[in-house]
């Protein structure tokens, strides 16, 4: 008994040490944001008098809330759009598979492997001619398309594992299409849809190539905000940390709050 307690303690200790090491860069960044610039580059120390100076200065230079709002609109907008397009597709692929289904899925995934830099100029010209440059709508469209393959695939694997018999039974009982969707499908698939959506939000929030290149002032999200604080002149560690903390805080908290939900559906069909 004692032996097992000790073992448990060791396991807990090891897990906590690893957790701390992995989390440390984020912790240190948050901490540095509250230091003065001179303290930020002095030898690392946990003891310092915290200050909000960096945050104030950062906010004076660029309005955080405007960028953050753009990030929210773009990542949630594209996620909703992607789900609306992907749910019917994944549903039909899962329940009415044809010979081409697997091929289509694989092809969709392979579209993700094209490095975006290679097509920047064509897309830029396209956006210029359609007036989509520096609009939230433009980024919503790009992100929707960018995440669609993953979203379709995740939903497909989730739908495929659903107990089919229930649906069949419901249909026998004469449930209408609407009833079938609302009473049977929705409750069953909600975890999968939710976690797919969460992943799509995270991927859109963190995307830094299209968001930098297709926006200027109106639609620029937080990734562009960071680009105005990376490697400026003089001492910048504290300001950079403050800006970084603000840029990742919403999505980090969002991730923490929803991680249980995410785990439930984030199986990509990996769990039987």
């Amino acid at each position: 008994m004692n032996n097992s307690m000790f073992k448990r303690f060791c396991i807990g200790l090891l897990a906590w040490v690893i957790a701390f090491v992995i989390f440390f860069p984020i912790f240190w960044m948050v901490l540095t944001g509250f230091k003065t610039e001179t303290a930020a580059i002095a030898d690392p120390s946990l003891i310092f008098s915290p200050t909000l100076d960096s945050y104030i200065e950062v906010q004076q230079r660029a309005d955080y809330f405007k960028f953050a709002w753009n990030s929210v609109v773009i990542s949630f907008g594209s996620t909703i759009l992607a789900l609306l397009i992907a749910i019917p597709a994944a549903y039909s692929m899962a329940f009415l598979p044809t010979r081409r289904t697997k091929g289509t899925l694989l092809w969709m995934l392979s579209t993700k492997m094209l490095p975006p830099v290679g097509v920047l100029v064509p897309i830029y010209l396209l956006f210029r001619d359609t007036g989509l440059l520096d609009t939230k709508l433009g980024l919503v469209i790009v992100y929707t398309l960018m995440n669609l393959p993953i979203v379709v695939w995740m939903l497909y694997t989730f739908f495929k594992d659903l107990p089919r018999d229930i649906l069949e039974a419901g249909r026998m009982d004469g449930a209408s299409t609407l009833q079938e969707v609302v009473y049977l499908l929705l409750p069953l698939t909600l975890p999968g849809i939710a976690s797919t959506g969460l992943l799509s939000v995270i991927l859109s929030w963190n995307e830094a190539f299209w968001s930098l290149n297709l926006t200027s002032s109106q639609a620029a999200p937080l990734t562009a905000y960071i680009a105005s604080f990376s490697s400026p002149e003089g001492l910048f560690w504290a300001k950079l940390s403050a800006a970084s903390t603000m840029a990742i805080a919403p999505i980090l908290v969002f991730g923490w709050l929803t991680q249980k939900q995410m785990v439930r559906g984030l199986t990509f069909g990996a769990v039987k």
């Binding site: 448990r8 396991i11 807990g12 090891l14 897990a15 992995i22 989390f23 440390f24 860069p25 984020i26 240190w28 960044m29 540095t32 030898d43 690392p44 397009i85 019917p88 597709a89 039909s92 009415l96 598979p97 044809t98 010979r99 697997k102 289509t104 694989l106 995934l109 392979s110 492997m113 094209l114 490095p115 975006p116 830099v117 290679g118 097509v119 100029v121 064509p122 929707t144 669609l148 993953i150 995270i202 830094a208 937080l222 960071i226 680009a227 990376s230 560690w237 950079l240 940390s241 990742i248 980090l252 991730g255 923490w256 991680q259 984030l266 199986t267 069909g269 990996a270 769990v271 039987k272």
Partner: protein, 296 residues
């Protein structure tokens, strides 16, 4: 196994075509429009900085690309980066999944801490590693080294690829952990108990029960990570700019140099076409293998 259904079946009166239509059409456009433009441009002399110099170039762009000594280095670097990060995240993720599956004090919070890096945008994580962790003078790692009286490592100049691998692996390890941990939860405890009864040690339980159980999940991790790792860009752009020399130039970064420093759209497009071909080769070999794993 499901019996293949006939195409005449419907869901709520809608045929598969109508349901899949929007997604497939949009993706098709998204793929085909840039692809067609890329192929078209790859056969043109088209440099944004030289408006006068246009016209059909034939395979000239490809010829230049394939005789570029940087191309092979970049391909090798791409494979190295993908390979190492996959090894680290899959092996590390599996071990951590086993560890974080155990009961211990504050497990929920510890798990949340461990998965956090996955939510951090790549630009920020590269900046934090570069300026706060790996900086040779003010970085935490340099300070730790000095505590032990060791010479601080100048990460990005002496171990450039290792540094990039560390940063990228730090971001993707939590993802692997997340998936593997989920898969772990469906592990049949009775089976493990039975094996223990038969005198199996923790190692043989891991190798003969846990690992086979995680096979599908590991395949999924490899596949998803592969998609993202082939196009790693922000981490390199922020830290080493592909250097020193070509030490950390991967294919995505090389195309960036051609596309946005030379503004040679023709050459960049040729690079894009090569990347697509490469991605599809990978897709055929790997994704099929993985996908097969998933089907049974």
């Amino acid at each position: 196994m499901n019996k293949p259904r006939t195409a005449g079946r419907t869901v709520g009166g809608l045929r598969p075509l109508a349901l899949q239509g929007p997604a497939v059409t949009l993706l098709f456009l998204w793929m085909i429009v840039p692809l067609a433009m890329t192929i078209w441009f790859s056969l043109q002399r088209y440099n944004l900085l030289m408006p006068g110099m246009t016209g059909f170039a034939g395979l000239e762009n490809y010829q230049y690309l394939f005789t570029d000594p940087a191309l092979w280095t970049a391909m090798l670097n791409t494979l190295l980066l993908v390979g190492w990060v996959l090894v680290i995240t899959v092996v590390g993720g599996t071990l951590l999944a086993v560890l974080f599956q155990q009961e211990f004090f504050g497990r929920g919070i510890a798990r949340v801490l461990v998965i956090s890096p996955f939510f951090v945008m790549p630009t920020v994580s590269a900046l934090v590693w570069k300026n706060l962790m790996m900086h040779p003078a003010n970085g935490v790692l340099a300070w730790v080294a000095s505590l032990f009286g060791a010479e601080p490592v100048d990460w990005f100049s002496s171990l450039p690829m290792t540094s990039i691998v560390i940063i990228v692996a730090w971001q993707w390890l939590p993802f692997a952990l997340l998936i593997l941990l989920t898969a772990m939860q469906s592990l049949d405890e009775d089976q493990v108990e039975a094996a223990r009864m038969d005198g199996a040690g923790p190692l043989s339980v891991f190798f003969f029960i846990t690992l086979p159980h995680l096979k599908r999940a590991i395949s999924v991790v490899i596949m998803i990570e592969m998609i993202f790792l082939l196009t790693v860009f922000a981490e390199i752009f922020v830290t080493t700019s592909g250097g020193p020399g070509l030490a950390t130039t991967n294919l995505a970064y090389l195309i960036y140099i051609r596309a946005l420093l030379d503004f040679d759209v023709g050459m960049a497009s040729a690079g894009g076409v090569v990347a697509i071909v490469l991605a599809n080769i990978v897709a055929i070999f790997l994704v099929r293998m993985v996908a097969k794993n998933l089907e049974d």
